[in-house]
């Protein structure tokens, strides 16, 4: 087994295990305890934990700082970086710094538009797009060069991730764009939250037909539905999200105090199904503001214990 990086996620995936990643959103303040509190629930339960980068365009503690806090707790951070806020100079600088501090897994994203957050008046950088960011990190690592061409002393070795949304439009482009991310150098992919299993199966079939599952590891994104209200919100208010009516109905038909339980049950069934879908290398569990439930969910979904590699 030849490893390109020190990433635990890479080790787990290359060893052929069904990987599990989690997510922690940094706080809207400078208290490291706020990170530790959320992250503590995930220690030992996931192979890597995504640390989001000012998600929904709200100012939060920086992803690299929160990543370091998580790392100090024994978690493997998946350092997220969006193209919205930094130009390529700042991005490369942050990548060097992150690697210097022991981060070795990162996720390259476009980022939510500033109009969604609390600084809609901010400049919207996008010097690079997410695919160009992947290319840049790949070049830093494989060629040992900055994008400007100069040599890097001790090039960063990152296990490079990218996101994919199987449910955005136009559907026929979704796998083609995934292929571009893979061609750009993405080692692994984490998808947007999946609720429409049939559409996800169709997507994976197209990806497998293109042989993409042999060039990258695809982790299926899942988010537990806590209530009927959340299901309806996800179905109607979140761009690029596809929650079929029967899923909303299923959660809504449970009594209010049992809806969360039903959401977890549905999620566990999804994970069970995903294990059987060709090309799915693991799951990415985004239990937003529900981190304390992660151990219970992963236990129920038979994802524990995590492999030691």
């Amino acid at each position: 087994m030849e490893l390109k990086t020190d990433s635990n996620l890479e080790k787990v995936l290359r060893a052929g295990h069904f990987a599990v990643t989690g997510e922690v959103g940094p706080p809207r303040g400078s208290d490291p305890e706020a990170v530790r509190e959320k992250a503590a629930h995930l220690v030992g339960k996931v192979d890597a934990v995504n640390i989001t980068d000012c998600q929904t365009a709200m100012v939060r503690m920086s992803s690299w700082a929160a990543s370091l806090i998580c790392k100090s707790m024994g978690l493997e951070p998946n350092y997220q970086m969006v193209c919205r806020d930094r130009n390529r100079i700042a991005m490369q600088s942050d990548i060097l710094g992150a690697y210097a501090m022991g981060l070795n897994t990162m996720l390259c994203l476009s980022g939510d538009h500033p109009s969604f957050g609390d600084h809609p008046m901010a400049s919207n950088v996008h010097d690079l797009d997410s695919i160009q960011l992947i290319q840049m990190v790949r070049g830093m690592m494989d060629d040992g060069k900055f994008q400007g061409g100069a040599e890097i002393k001790r090039p960063p070795k990152m296990f490079i991730g990218a996101a994919a949304n199987p449910f955005g439009d136009p559907f026929e482009l979704r796998v083609l764009r995934l292929a571009k991310k893979v061609a750009a150098g993405a080692d692994f992919i984490q998808t947007q939250c999946i609720y429409n299993m049939q559409k996800f199966r169709d997507y994976m079939k197209m990806a497998v037909d293109k042989g993409l599952h042999e060039k990258t590891y695809i982790l299926a994104g899942v988010t537990p539905l806590k209530s009927a209200g959340m299901a309806k919100y996800m179905a109607t208010k979140v761009p690029g999200m596809d929650v079929p009516d029967d899923v909303v109905k299923r959660i809504a038909s449970a009594p209010k105090e049992k809806q969360a339980e039903e959401g977890i049950k549905f999620l566990c069934e999804q994970i069970e199904e995903m294990r059987e879908i060709e090309g799915v290398a693991g799951i990415h569990l985004m239990a937003i503001e529900w981190e304390h439930k992660v151990p219970e969910i992963l236990e129920q979904a038979k994802c524990l214990p995590r492999p030691q590699v």
Binding site: C83, R84, R88, S110, G111, D112, H113, S115, F116, N124, H126, D127, L128, D129, S130, I131, Q132, Q135, M136, Q147, A163, A164, N165, G168, D169, P170, L173, L176, R177, A179, K180, A183, A184, Q192, P239, G240
Partner: protein
């Protein structure tokens, strides 16, 4: 063309109130076509200002004039003999026109009467939309004639992002997803192969990021 919208009258009043005699100066080019600062709009603003001043018990003398092009020294020179009689020039041209006046008549205050918006095209009567950001290195040949720099909210070169829904952009259901338009065009042209190429990181030097830009045509220099 360059599009513009007239500033609110309250803002204009703030600029103008110290003066007794002003020249309200229109432009016969882009701002005429987009109904922001041509001869007709000069007339409308002159009346509105006169009335607003009258209401405040103030009197201001307003002369109206519309130049062929305010961004051209040849036409701006026409003001040389008359400009001294005015306390200030209120330009209804785009920012290029305002600055040409300011550059030529260095001791004369000049105020913008419009907000210059973007390089755009008319979609239908009364509607203009952004089409070009003047990035200095046109990619339309590869994107089916639809510009990702001007028309994608994230100026993504390898789109669409995950927020494209039903052909619309995630930021606003009234905004078309540029990459949906690009894809539709590439399909219609039988050139979907163009999509599969990764468009490399852009060299923004050709755009504004390289500093203020200038074109010098040696063959035309006098």
């Amino acid at each position: 063309m360059i599009t513009a919208e007239r500033k609110p009258i309250e803002e204009i009043m703030e600029y103008v109130k110290p003066y007794k005699k002003i020249l309200l100066l229109g432009c016969n080019e882009c701002v005429t076509v987009c109904y922001a600062g041509g001869r007709k709009e000069v007339g409308i603003l002159a009346s509105a200002l006169s009335m607003a001043f009258l209401k405040q018990g103030q009197k201001v003398e307003i002369d109206e004039l519309t130049l062929e092009r305010q961004c051209d020294p040849e036409y701006v020179e026409e003001l040389a003999r008359t400009i001294q009689q005015y306390d200030a020039v209120c330009s209804m041209a785009c920012g290029c026109g305002v600055q040409t006046i300011a550059g030529r008549y260095k001791d004369k205050p000049v105020y913008p009467m419009v907000n210059t918006k973007f390089m755009g095209a008319s979609e239908r009567q009364g509607v203009w939309a952004e089409r070009c950001q003047g990035c200095g290195d046109c990619v339309l040949a590869f994107t089916g004639g639809i510009c990702p720099v001007a028309r994608c909210s994230k100026r993504i070169f390898n789109g669409p992002c995950g927020g494209s829904s039903g052909g619309k952009c995630e930021i606003d259901p009234n905004v078309d997803c540029a990459w949906q338009l690009i894809w539709d065009r590439l399909k219609a042209l039988g050139r979907t192969d163009l999509y599969e190429r990764i468009m490399p990181a852009k060299d923004w030097r050709a755009a504004r990021d390289g500093g203020p830009r200038k074109i010098v045509r040696e063959d035309l220099l006098a």
